[in-house]
Amino acid sequence: MRIGIVSPYSFDVPGGVQLHVRDLAEHLISLGHYVSVLAPADDDTPLPDYVVSSGRAVPVRYNGSVARLSFGPLTAARVGRWVEAGRFDVVHLHEPVTPSVSVLALWAVEGPIVATFHTSNLRSRAMQAAYPLLRPSLEKISARIAVSEDARRTVTTHLGGDAVVIPNGVFVERFASAKRRPDWEGTPARPTIAFLGRMEEPRKGMPVLSQALPHILREIPGIRVLIAGPGDPGPIREKMTPEAAAACEFLGPVSEADKASLLASVDVYVAPNTGGESFGIILIEALSARATVLASDLPAFARVLKGGDAGEMFVNEDPVDLARAVVALLRDPIRREQLAVAGRDRANAFDWSVVGEDVLAVYETVVSGASSVRTSSEHDSRWARLRRTGRNSGGT
């Protein structure tokens, strides 16, 4: 199949949508499909050979945060050229209502279009204001995918219609084959737990963990807390008791490989996120690495952990319950092993081999019967259509 994928966000900076697009493209290519990805990128950024730049990305404040987007007539022209050159069977747009390449592509394309909605906060004021303008082009989408139940609910309430839920994928093997690092592994006297993510963002749950630490230290004085992720540890340390601060080791931002090693090495991986998670890809990565997972009982997390079968859960934003759960897990190696095995099994449901199969099923469902993707300018003009018919009948 010839597949065109459009990412609205620049590949210069990492992010959930870009990673998803990259992984999906690489998985489809490994299956033998032809894939071309259109994404904003600076001219001097090294890009994988399947990525085509739609132009420079500009940082824009949109929907409450700064995103690197690309737009304007020059970008629109590049989108048109990309569609014409690609001769795609299907075009797959990500975040089609973000003011960037995806929305331009939606404008420019006719034919089988699949769109994936990642966000669970769709209703921006800009979108509402521009809705009459967007509506006709949204009608072109043949199949909508949402990456989670929350994202799907957003689509159904704000855009009407329905969407198929296909979760984010993970290359399970990359995490399963991660090497353990002895300095991150726990011993009975000095067990290790890990926290991953931006520690300054309260919704990632660092404050809950900080408050739980004194309770944990009372029971297990030797515990080591390994904290990986960007951010300044100073303010975090200040808010902790001196004993708690002494138990923490700040690793700073880590590479993908180190992240996998960390998850594979520690006794318990803690995800104390307090909200705003629509999916929880990090939990699946942890399960893939055979980590014992302890997570807050957010609906998204409960779905991934099957309500506690594949990982332990504690009451969201309750440091005392978090401490209780950590202590219980660290004292019960058999339970940890059980959870790790069940979790590894659960992760397989999210492997790209499985998730990619679902995405391909969607492609097949919209492609069969329909003709391939064109630019709308050549399609819409009746004159062009007449001319084509004339040519065709003349030729036969």
């Binding site: 072109k140 043949s142 979760p167 499985v354 099923a361 469902t365 069969s368």
Partner: protein
């Protein structure tokens, strides 16, 4: 004075002409989408019935289940595709037949038989998944068409022409025992 009237009238007419042609093109596109989705659903329903026949004849099921499945599948393959309501009933029956035939014991036996059972079951699951997808995409397209056709301007100017008002396709197509539970 007179001239500005004429210019104004021409401008209004041009605007109306643009609205009509744009609205017609938009509706045309939507109808094409519905037709495409309908033909895909049709193909996937046939594929599901064929996979069900294969399952009935694979030998791993008891004779009664096999007969029920074969009956439901044949009904589906012989269904009158022009009568949507009766077809919906027939396809729901096929789903129900599959649900009945694929009890725990039968599933265990099929999954244990890697030479025949597993691949046949896989084909049924894949076909049913595609029916679910195709039906959802069709119904989305139908909802879009119906919404646009309700608009007063579209109704007044009869922009839809003689095209029939499409109906959503309502069947039971859920087979939870074949889903992976994401």
């Amino acid at each position: 004075m007179d001239l500005s009237w004429i210019v104004g009238a021409i401008a209004v007419m041009a605007l109306i002409a643009w609205y009509v042609s744009y609205g017609a093109a938009r509706l045309d596109r939507l109808h094409t989408r519905v037709e495409g989705a309908l033909s895909v659903l049709d193909a996937q329903l046939v594929r599901r019935a064929e996979a069900t026949l294969e399952l009935a004849n694979c030998g791993a099921l008891d004779a009664a289940s096999a007969l029920i499945l074969a009956g439901a599948a044949t009904d589906s393959l012989e269904a009158d595709t022009t009568d949507q309501r009766s077809r919906e009933a027939i396809e729901s029956d096929l789903t129900q037949a599959l649900e009945l035939a694929l009890g725990e014991e039968a599933l265990r036996r099929l999954r244990g038989d890697e030479a025949v059972g597993t691949p046949v079951l896989g084909r049924v699951a894949a076909a049913n998944q595609r029916v679910e997808l195709a039906r959802r995409f069709l119904n989305d397209a139908v909802t879009d068409v119906r919404r646009v056709r309700r608009r007063p301007g579209v109704r007044l100017l009869r922009l839809a022409g003689h095209a029939e008002l499409p109906q959503t396709f309502e069947i039971d197509d859920e087979l939870p025992m074949l889903a992976r539970g994401l």
